[in-house]
Amino acid sequence: MKPSNLPTSATIPNGPNSEDLLVLEGVHTYISQFHILQGVSMTIKRGAATVLLGRNGAGKTTTLKSIMGLTPPRQGTISYDGQPLVGKTTFEIARSGIGYVPEDRGIFREMTSEENLLLAARGETTAEYRRRLEFCLELFPDMGQFLRQKAGTLSGGQQQMVAISRGLMTDNKLLLIDEPSKGLAPIVVKAVIDTLVKLKEHVTILLVEQNFTMASTVGDYFYLIDDGHNITDGLMSQLIGDKELTRQYLGVTVK
């Protein structure tokens, strides 16, 4: 079923050179009969990290899946770099330059780490693959030790390194990262935070995160959603100052 209000290219707000890389407008997404996203709108700025916040079940993961076309929206528009995404299939969306690091990492457990990366380097030449692998190894020096190990036998932190690296194996302009801290030891979370901060210089990031330390360290902007609706958004520094908002919607107390 196609939504009747698909935009024509003339109405798309973000052109290829605009400051806004990804724009969601009034996105409604259903999972079977459940109305999960009830009109979510967001603007992701090029070259910055935006954090999507909200309680469990607020619709954060569904927002990322709607962008990827894994749970296609029934209503609303999503445009990426001037191109409409609604109505495209997942593989077309990925090919337009969006990397996806899902919740629970989505690693291919039966393959080695290296095979995971090779698979992600879709259509790249061997030289280009090597160059990108080198870049990832600079980012995660430990990864060199388990490249030939079956990914299913890796620890959560190691798998997270492979999952993020996978998003860097092609020329992605935008990375969607879903709860990278989930199930990781605090010291590993800290390492992931450091990596994401470094990564911000190379790629635009849309991060879903419950861990407030990670969210506030990595994020430049934030969007807060609840029950599939936008609550508020703005600069990360404003949110850190707003004790009432963080307590009410995130259940955290900022010291």
């Binding site: 593989f91 996806y100 992600a120």
Partner: protein, 354 residues
């Protein structure tokens, strides 16, 4: 501080898959050695050669099934019908290609142009193409029109493919205008003749060709799955199709390709079967399908190498069992299945998805 290193052999032996392989090989050797003492040497070798050819035919059938059923989890009962179609299409076109050009009344037949009076070698080569293309087209049609909508729904797959078996088996008789159940070659396909490695042993060249075909298919598919990017996409697609899509691959196209490849291999199995037994029947696929299912389960679902080991096991032991215990000839395969499943419910090489 120095730590005493365990010998590498010890570590290697702890690998369960290697251990399985070693015990299968040792067990097979022991059985064969025992049988060797019971029958004369030339008979033993003759049975071994027959067993290898049988294994190769079985493997060709089972390899396609291993891809479609083991790897992609599609229960495809129509696989046997594709086997029959491939074999009959091969024999039918071979017969036509070797016939002298039609004259008079016959020349109005729509297939009269195929009567070229070819020698066995070119006729076999052309007929091989006809048989394989028939299998590929059938597979493509079945996937595109039916299976595509039924991935992950085994009950629907069983119902649908069982129905397809009826349709394909009956339409086979119409398309190739079969007059009886059996269908024969009018000339002998290439390779003909035989050679004698010793005075008492005779080996047919066609047996050699079939075994070589089996080895080539094994090597080719193993290479495709384990050493190429296409193989990576297929293995990834089996494990997590959504994630493969999210990496920018159109998984459907790859699954379609695997299904067609599996069907081409089924047709190749039918062709090898017809060459090996110098003829075929409109039921040959149904008989082979059951054994092939058993082979795939013995080898372990999803393990391509397992299917090869299973085919060798069944193919090589069968002739000896049939010789010593004729009453067990038909039930032996099932007994072996029960035995393997009792010891290793996941199959010999199960758990590894390629």
């Amino acid at each position: 501080m120095k730590v005493a290193q365990r010998p590498n052999l010890y570590l290697a032996l702890r690998n369960p898959r290697l251990l399985t392989l070693i015990s299968v090989v040792v067990g097979l050797l022991l059985v064969l050695l025992y049988i060797n003492t019971a029958i004369k040497f030339p008979v033993f070798v003759k049975f071994l050669i027959n067993g290898l050819v049988e294994s190769a035919v079985l493997f060709l059938m089972a390899s396609g099934l291993s891809l479609i059923f083991g790897l992609m989890d599609v229960v495809n009962f129509a696989h046997g019908a594709v086997f029959t179609w491939g074999g009959i299409a091969f024999m039918w076109s071979f017969n036509l290609f070797t016939m002298p050009p039609a004259t008079g009344k016959d020349s109005s037949s729509p297939v009269a142009w195929m009567q070229m009076g070819l020698e066995p070698l070119p006729a076999t080569a052309l007929a091989l193409v006809v048989g394989l293309v028939t299998g590929g087209l059938l597979g493509a049609g079945v996937e595109f029109l039916a299976i595509r909508r039924l991935y992950g729904r085994p009950v629907f797959q069983i119902l649908l493919t069982l129905g397809l078996v009826l349709v394909l088996d009956e339409s086979l008789k119409i398309v190739f205008s079969l007059k009886s159940q059996n269908y024969d070659f009018l000339a002998t396909p290439w390779p003909t003749g035989n050679f004698k490695p010793s005075s008492e042993i005779l080996v047919n060249w066609k047996s050699v060709a079939i075994v070589v075909a089996g080895l080539l298919v094994f090597g080719g598919v193993y290479w495709l799955l384990n050493r190429t990017k296409v193989g990576l996409v297929i293995r990834g697609g089996v494990e997590d199709p959504q994630m493969v899509q999210a990496l920018g691959y159109n998984v459907r196209v790859y699954f379609f390709g695997v299904f067609v490849l599996g069907s081409v291999l089924a047709a190749l199995g039918g062709i090898a079967y017809s060459i090996n037994s110098a003829g075929g029947s409109d039921q040959m696929g149904q008989f082979s399908l059951l054994t092939a299912f058993v082979v795939v389960v013995i080898g372990g679902l999803g393990s391509f190498s397992g299917a090869a080991v299973g085919a060798l096991l069944v193919g090589i032991i069968s002739p000896y069992v049939a010789y010593h215990f004729p009453g067990l000839a038909d039930s032996f395969v099932m007994l072996l299945l029960v035995l393997v499943l009792l010891i290793r419910p996941q199959g010999l090489f199960g758990g590894k998805k390629y």
